[in-house]
Amino acid sequence: MLRFTVLDRVRGVLLRPPRTEAVPGGRDLRLDFFRGLALWFIFLDHVPSNALAWLTVRNYGFSDATEIFVFISGYTATVAYGEAMRREGFLYGGARILRRCWQVYIAHLVLFVVFTAQIAYTAARFKNPMFVEEMGIIGFINEPEIALGQALLLKFRPANLDVLPLYIALLAVFPVTLWFLLRFPRATLAGSFALYAAARVFDWNLPTYPEGEWVFNPLAWQFLFVLGGLCRRLQTANLWERLEPRVFVPLAGAWLFFAFFAVLSWSFPLLGGWIPLWLRVLLYPIDKTGLDPVRLLHFASLAYLTVRLVDAQAAFLRRSWARPLLLCGRHSLQIFCLGIFLSFAGHFILVQFNGSMIMQIGVSLSGLAIMSGWAMVMTWYDRVGAARKRGG
């Protein structure tokens, strides 16, 4: 009887008839909330061997925080720069975007320096012949002039700094993308999809130094970014609503469940036997670089169910505990860079001093607290600045 009530309620929420999602002028807080959540997940995922990383999306499905981050960034970039471009024209709007792109590029270089310093420090003190091969990562220090040059070109990227170059690349071409998106949204989406498909079929990607290719292929991942922008452009709270919930909610749910089961089978191999061999051959390996359709579908299912479950006016978004997430999501780029920096610092602490479970939890929580605190400081700063400007 009790169980019936809860399930009923959930089902009612999932299958409710569409209602006009009026977000009059104000921000859709869900964007900030989930992007903030994505940033927290990215931080937790980047502290290696982190006990708390078990909380993040990547352990429950095929997609991870990167998808959430890229999609929402596409949406909010269209919000932020679409208006400017519409009002002030292509040149000014484009200039604003490129200015932002430059800022991200500089942030990336700073992080690169921090990363290099940390590696050099650890390598100098770590001498165990058992790990002599792993230490080869520091080989680039022997040719600093080449490594630095390649880093400036975004061709040399140590692990963990992979999302920023993607973002830089996406922003760099965004003036043109946005112009087309504003005028011919559906054609732009079609073109974006064509590029995504072509990049996957013909193996197009950008190179890295000394070998290999970008971990996040901008030619493929741009599709998710444009999709986010399109959702904004077509005011797609309503687009989600047009999909018949009785069909799509179970489909989305089924896919999420399957993904959860598959991921679980990676940690508990005996479960893997339940997935038939032909399905495993079809599914694996799941392409992270080229935004495997399986990942895209997983993210879409997640987003769909979230949008159905969480109303734009949902009460919890205004609670005080949601505030840190909202603020982190609002200043996403700075918090992202801060998060990467903190993950380096956190890893360093865990390695140098104490890597126990308690320390891992402590470092993770401190990092999240610092990120939230910093977001609050920036919000305060913006508010004071805006008040000053208004005051004259």
Binding site: L2, R3, T5, V6, R9, H46, P48, S49, Q118, I119, T122, A123, F126, N128, P129, M130, F131, V132, E133, E134, M135, G136, I137, I138, R157, A159, N160, D162, D203, N205, P210, E211, G212, E213, V215, W266, S267, F268, P269, L270, G272, G273, I275, L277, R280, V281, L283, Y284, P285, I286, D287, K288, T289, G290, H347, L350, V351, G355, S356, M357
Partner: protein, 264 residues
Amino acid sequence: MGAGKLLSAAALWLLLGCGLALAEDDAAPPPPDPCALPESLTSDDSVLHRTASALTAGNPLRIVVMGSVSSLGFGTSGLGKGYPHRLEDELRQLLPNAKPVVLILARLGQTAADMFARIERDVLPRRPNLVIWQTGTVDARRAVSFHDFARVVNGGIEQLHHHGIDVILMDMQYSPKSLNLGDYETYQDYLQQLSDRNDVILVRRYDMMRHWHESGDIRLDADDKTAQERTADQVHACIARHMARMIVIGLRAAEPEPSSAPER
């Protein structure tokens, strides 16, 4: 109201379950085995059909180990302490009739692509019936594209299977001072998925070493040479022991059951 009651009931069951699990731990005596690992890290339902049929035909167990420096036993206290040698010792005890022999074809700095190129040239002429493929470390270090990594590992497995040779994959080592800072995980994921796709056993060395380090059984952060060598010896010995067990289980599973049809 109903939801609240349901949630409290669920919480109660959860607590009860946790309590039982903890109580169970207290009740059981601590295992004397320093290599102890949780079930999930050593279980793998892949079957060594090809090796089993080769053994049934009367051939001895010939294993070739393809890998990089860790397969050469770097860091251990001497020759013969690396996991391939220890594996041979373990298998001689567990399968004396199979007269197991382990050949090592490992080199410093080899990527999966390098090893794939050696299959035709070096591995097949030695006519093994089982290949242990240890890879991922150098690829992660050199940031080889995932696409290429997956392609050669998959291709290598298929080629070996085509020649009637079973494959066991092994991933990278865990080190607390992990200098790679991150993307081991993706290569690990790829190895896991490729092992699922081709239905081969994966020895999850990274997770195993991490378990030993974090549980305190084998600490990997020693600073002086003797302690480092000792832990390396322990790690290689434990890996070999678990690998031997997994091989034996994989072979046994290939034996046809009289009552049930073979799986797949």
